[in-house]
């Protein structure tokens, strides 16, 4: 990616993100990889865009999600699509594997980090290739880590305990979905920039499946809340 600023010599560095996406949680399960994220893009502390699809299908067997600056996410989706299109020119039927995408994104992120103009993203690439599950995190610095589960943003603080207690890498798809739903319940309660509408997507031997957004169940009609709302203050 070459920006006009790089050609003209006047650099504009991304110092802070403007429109941001929230946490991403990805888990490997028996037969595939499951990814979950909410459908919110925040404008600072304002919940500005509440119905955003943040899960991108890059190829027949690869999913890409990220948290951070949403415009960077949109640009990366275009960059990754370019790689597969160039395969058309060579006419050899060879398509990039999920790992190829992950490594390419790592090289891209590292290059931009070296110019102190990063892609302000924590990226997650999930795929299923050659009967193998693939899940990798590429962070803002270009660090590339393959893993069986990945959390970004606040999920890294709140959700790791839930994941380690209720998930293992050979659980079923439904079990993995339940774990992610539980995680987003907690996030909605504790993370100010989280939203209760989430979207799940999974890749398995049959390809990618992106589900419809769903609302996590949260309970707000506790008696305690109602009492406190109605109680008289000391001074009254």
């Amino acid at each position: 990616m070459i920006f006009n600023s790089e050609i003209s010599g006047q650099y504009e560095h991304t110092t802070s993100p403007v429109v941001t996406g929230g946490s991403v949680i990805a888990l490997v399960y028996n037969g595939g990889v499951l990814v979950g994220t909410d459908t919110l893009c925040s404008y600072g502390s304002m919940a500005a865009f509440k119905n955003v699809q943040k899960i991108a299908q890059i190829s027949q067997n690869t999913i890409y999600v990220s948290s951070g600056e949403f415009s960077d996410f949109q640009q990366v989706v275009k960059e990754l699509a370019k790689i597969d299109r160039s395969a058309l020119q060579y006419d050899d039927g060879v398509h990039p594997s999920p790992k190829d995408y992950g490594n390419y994104l790592a090289r891209l992120s590292y290059k931009k980090r070296c110019k102190i103009n990063p892609l302000y993203l924590q990226n997650v690439i999930a795929g299923f290739h050659n009967n193998d599950r693939y899940l990798a995190l590429v962070d803002i610095y270009g660090t590339y880590l393959e893993s069986k589960f990945i959390t970004t943003g606040f999920a890294s603080y709140f959700c790791k305990a839930i994941i380690s207690n209720y998930w293992n890498e050979n659980c079923s798809l439904d079990q993995a979905k339940q774990v992610i739903r539980e995680c987003f319940k907690v996030l909605f309660c504790r993370d100010c920039r989280a939203h209760d509408v989430i979207q799940l997507a999974y890749v398995d031997a049959q390809g990618t499946h992106i589900e419809e957004p769903e609302r996590v169940e949260t309970k707000w009609d506790f008696n305690g809340f109602k009492q406190r709302a109605n109680e008289k203050l000391h001074t009254q």
Binding site: Y90, D92, G93, V94, S97, D100, N103, Y104
Partner: protein, 248 residues
């Protein structure tokens, strides 16, 4: 005689629709010593005959590793081959750096062909005077390609290029239906038998003037060493392709 009117440079067509400079470049390939390649479902084998410029000199190597999963055998101008070899190695390295996986074979051959074609469409350039046999393994399977100075490339089950290669090709035409299911040893022996057809009457195959390279789905590119070559050449005496038919 008329040929000489249209053969000064690459940017002149002949009335018959030929580019003579490109055709002359292909002649350079035919002057090189023979090299051949053949593949089964799991292996590709490259065999070549090495030339010795004089008794005091060493033998000119004709096979070069491009990457763990790819190798070439050359016929023609060695200097031009070195340029293409370096280009292919660089491309493979860059691909590995970016994607952490092996460069698909067909794609690299396409790139080499494109590079070769540029040289045939300029007043100031000459075509590469070398033909390559590219052996490689990728997710699409086992491959053997031939590239030409003209910029064309073809995929083969087996092919021989260089001087007296027709004799080897004739051998292949008789036996190539056996190659798909051949074992590695049978494949090497077929390759050496084909080379034997192409050597001159007073020459003989020995471990010094023959070069054999092997690539497999689980086998990185490997040159056979002198002892292994000697063993194969000995086995060549007793090798009879007919016995392979009886096995199946």
């Amino acid at each position: 005689m008329l040929k000489h009117l249209y053969d000064t440079d690459c940017v002149t067509w002949s009335p018959q629709g030929k580019l003579f400079q490109v055709e002359y470049a292909m002649e350079a390939v035919k002057q090189g010593s023979i090299c051949l390649g053949l593949k089964s479902s799991d292996y590709v084998v490259l065999c070549s005959l090495k030339r010795q410029p004089s008794e005091l000199a060493g033998y000119q190597e004709k096979q070069f590793k491009i990457d763990d999963h790819m190798a070439i055998a050359i016929a023609g101008l060695t200097a031009d081959a070195r340029v293409l070899c370096k280009y292919m190695r660089t491309e493979c390295l860059e691909y590995k750096y970016t994607y952490e996986s092996h460069h698909p074979v067909g794609r690299l051959v396409f790139k080499v062909a494109e590079k070769s074609q540029h040289k045939t469409q300029s007043g100031a350039k000459r075509p590469y005077g070398v033909g390559l046999l590219v052996a490689g393994i990728d997710p699409n399977g086992v491959h053997l390609f031939e590239t030409c100075p003209s910029g064309n490339y073809y995929e083969y089950k087996c092919q021989a290029i260089g001087s007296r290669s027709q004799a080897a090709r004739t051998y292949f035409e008789s036996w190539f239906h056996l190659f798909e299911k051949s074992t590695l040893e049978q494949l090497v022996l077929h390759g050496l038998s084909a080379i034997k057809k192409a050597i001159m009457e007073d020459e003989e195959l020995n471990e010094k003037n023959v070069e054999v390279g092997i690539l497999g789905k689980n086998q990185k590119f490997l040159h056979l060493n002198a002892q292994e070559l000697k063993d194969y050449i000995t086995k060549l005496e007793a090798f009879n392709p007919n016995s392979q038919i009886q096995q199946e």
